[in-house]
Amino acid sequence: MSDPVVIGVDQKIESRDLIVTRLDAAVDWCRKNSVWPMPMGLACCAIELMAAGASRFDIARFGAEVMRFSPRQSDLMIVAGTCVYKMAGVVKRVWDQMAEPKWCIAMGACASTGGMYRSYAVVQGVDRFLPVDVYISGCPPRPEALLEGLMALQRKIQQEAALKNMKRSDQRGGLYAMPQGPVIVRGEYAPQMGDRRLEIGGRK
């Protein structure tokens, strides 16, 4: 019989290639750094979304550059633009086709509240039928605000109890349950000529 292998605190770690962490934190860390967005571009916010994906703002820095036009492959629905009632059914159907775990960003005033369209045709906020995780203000928000929203979502993902949610797949998914509550990103950004700083999320 060979000696039992001793691992853990008793063992001296010779090399530096071992990290000890909670499994939850590791899973969340993996998830938050490879969020694959489903770009639900409905109006002008989609232009800013494209800008965020392009080289100047480069959403790839946050691991979310793989825009998937198939709901089966995406984790994050970015609702960018005005959602009318006729489109709402389509958005909901695409959302339902996305596999858990999944998150939702309401980008801009229209997706968050209906915006300036207080009218018969426009859904007054996509949170009427989607569980929104992050709201981003602005009309449209600048790409920095979207990136701030993505980072807010990453912070939120990092706090999730991934394993618990895995055991009970319907935990979050009673679709409307939002254990940590939504995050609101203020995206007011007034660009000034010669101002080299990036003021993100209205922070001074």
Binding site: K92, R118, Y120, R128
Partner: protein
């Protein structure tokens, strides 16, 4: 332009003299003859492109509705506008899809927004609002905020569409005549906000 004038003089179903305003010619046409007039324009006069069909609600006037056709001729490079009056009690106009196929969606839009029916249209159903929507929202007596409506199961679950809150809306209109400034105040100033201001001062 004189050439165009002479063509229009022979337009079937023409009512009254053509009106010219800033180089644009408008002709009123008899509702029963609109198909003949369009076919005449396309086949005899070379008006090969239908730019637009629009419905109009002249609320408070009689006849209440109108359908406006913008027709363009690529070879002659000129435009003519046809207008058909549509009374409220008989809102049927002949479809011109058989003349210009592009009329299909334009007529569907006019039907969806105003409830004007187009006879012999190949597929007259709503184009902007969802199927089963009971109103025609571009009519002047329809409130901008909308009316409470049943939402069918196929859309966002089943439920009700509530009228959108008007408070804070930038284009709160009141139906009926009056100047545009009165109908569409650019700054939202609803009664609730006025009450707040009074309370504050």
């Amino acid at each position: 332009m004189t050439n165009l004038q002479s063509l229009i003089t022979n337009l079937p179903g023409r009512l009254g003299e053509p009106v010219e305003f800033r180089g644009e010619v408008t002709v009123m046409v008899d509702r029963a003859k609109i198909l003949d007039a369009c076919r005449y324009l396309k086949e005899q006069c070379g008006f090969d492109m239908l730019t637009d069909i629009a419905g109009v609600d002249n609320y408070g006037e009689d006849p209440r509705y109108a359908v406006v056709y913008h027709v363009y001729s690529l070879p002659h490079r000129c435009m003519v506008r046809l207008k058909v009056a549509v009374p409220e009690d008989d809102m049927v106009v002949d479809s011109v899809v058989s003349v210009w196929r592009t009329a299909d969606w334009h007529e569907r839009e006019a039907f969806d927004m105003f409830g004007i029916r187009f006879r012999n249209h190949p597929n007259l159903k709503r184009i902007l609002m969802w199927d089963g929507y009971p109103y025609h929202p571009l009519r002047k007596d329809f409130p901008l905020a909308g009316m409470e409506t049943e939402l069918p199961e196929t859309a966002v679950g089943a439920g009700r569409v509530e009228a959108a809150p008007m408070l804070g809306g930038p284009f709160v209109t009141t139906p009926g005549a009056g100047t545009a400034a009165r109908r569409e105040p650019r700054q939202a100033d609803t009664s609730a906000e006025r009450a707040d201001k009074k309370g504050a001062s």
